[in-house]
């Protein structure tokens, strides 16, 4: 399992800087928002928490479609399925590797992007906290979606379609934490809900993902 994790991380590094690129996409989305909605800084400040969460979500989403597809195409998944590792472990490790390469850098870099969008000062802590708690759920749910669509050529858009609704609860609570934090309001409840979602998905979804993957391998 550790070998698998290390290999995935190594592959992410090799393939033109997997670590950096999720981040850069996040950067680009936050840069494009002002071009799209205009440069007024009060407007930007009021939508900043939401935009940052949306950016994180899309950065995750965009890297999902290769999460399992490459291993499928070159036959690695077939071979892993016949290996001594249970498929549940395989998908969990894949999700973890995805989080380390995409979610974690976003969490660490979020404050910088907050500056770009004039996020109010108290919001920074809560933005980082909500991302740290919420992004693992994005990776785990994303892995499930990737397992569902792995056999399909051009699964990319279908994958987004399947995964985005599943992301809605995480997005709502995550953005709510960040927004309330930015406005200096109380954030306990949504943060608790967010943590609950993350823990539940981590505990349960890998079984669904493995089952779905097994069906797709047939």
């Amino acid at each position: 399992m550790i070998a698998l994790l290390l290999r995935d991380l190594k592959l992410a590094m090799r393939a033109g800087g997997g670590f950096g690129l999720g981040l850069v996409f996040f950067l680009i989305v936050t840069t494009l928002v002002p071009f799209a909605v205009g440069p007024q800084s009060d407007l930007l400040a009021s939508i900043a928490p939401g935009v940052l969460w949306l950016g994180a979500l899309l950065a995750c989403l965009l890297s999902l479609d290769r999460l399992l597809a490459l291993d499928w195409e070159d036959g690695t998944l077939d071979l892993l399925a016949t290996a001594p590792l249970p498929l549940e472990a395989v998908v969990s490790v894949k999700a973890l590797a995805h989080w380390i390469t995409t979610g974690l850098p976003l969490v660490l870099a979020a404050p910088v992007f907050g500056v770009l969008l004039n996020l109010p000062a108290p919001g920074f802590f809560w933005l980082v906290a909500s991302l740290a708690v919420g992004t693992p759920a994005l990776s785990v749910v994303g892995t499930f979606g990737a397992a569902l669509t792995v056999g399909l050529k051009r699964g990319g858009l279908l994958l987004s379609l399947l995964v985005l609704p599943l992301y809605v609860p995480t997005l709502i609570f995550g953005a709510e934490v960040a927004r309330r934090g930015a406005q200096g309001m109380e954030t306990g409840t949504p943060l608790l809900m967010l943590a609950g979602i993350t823990l539940a998905t981590i505990a349960l979804l890998p079984f669904a993902s493995a089952a779905v993957l097994r069906v797709n391998l047939r």
Partner: protein
Amino acid sequence: MTLTVTDLAIARGGVPVLEGLGFALEPGQALVVRGPNGIGKTTLLRAIAGLQPPLSGRIEGAEDRIAYAGHSDGIKPTLSVTENLTFWAAVFGARGIEGALDAYDLHELADRHAGNLSAGQKRRLGLARLLVTGRPVWVLDEPTVSLDKEAVGKFADAVRAHLGQGGSALIATHIDLGLDATTLEVGPFRALPKPVDDFDGDFL
């Protein structure tokens, strides 16, 4: 332990392709699966490897004992030859990769990215993977595709060594491997279309 297949029926894409198939593969034995294109060899091997459930029949002695190698090799183009092999060695519970490099003469290529290998070199790497699995039953689907004469010889040697250690091998191929093996002609087991009016619960 013997791999025993009894009265197996398998389907591909919902269509039964082979039925009534049975054989036993003893340790030390190699079985070559032959049959025309599209008869169902790949399907059979995948079923035995546990990748797809059979329609009916039993497969015994396969669980966790099989090393499968299909049309695609599971090779990562951005990892080097050594890294690829080391990964699989780790997954299957580490043994050294030296033996595998030796058997297919990969030492020279060891530090090359697998994506920069020629078709035959890539195949050799894929076959070398079998040696690091430590699994006793090899299930191979057209293993010698793209290999030159010399490499086919190396492959035959590797299979012979594996059999000598009490392993066994099930190989689907269209060419002559120069192995001392039993042949299983699957042509006769082709599934016959069922009568149309038989509208059963499985839609088969």
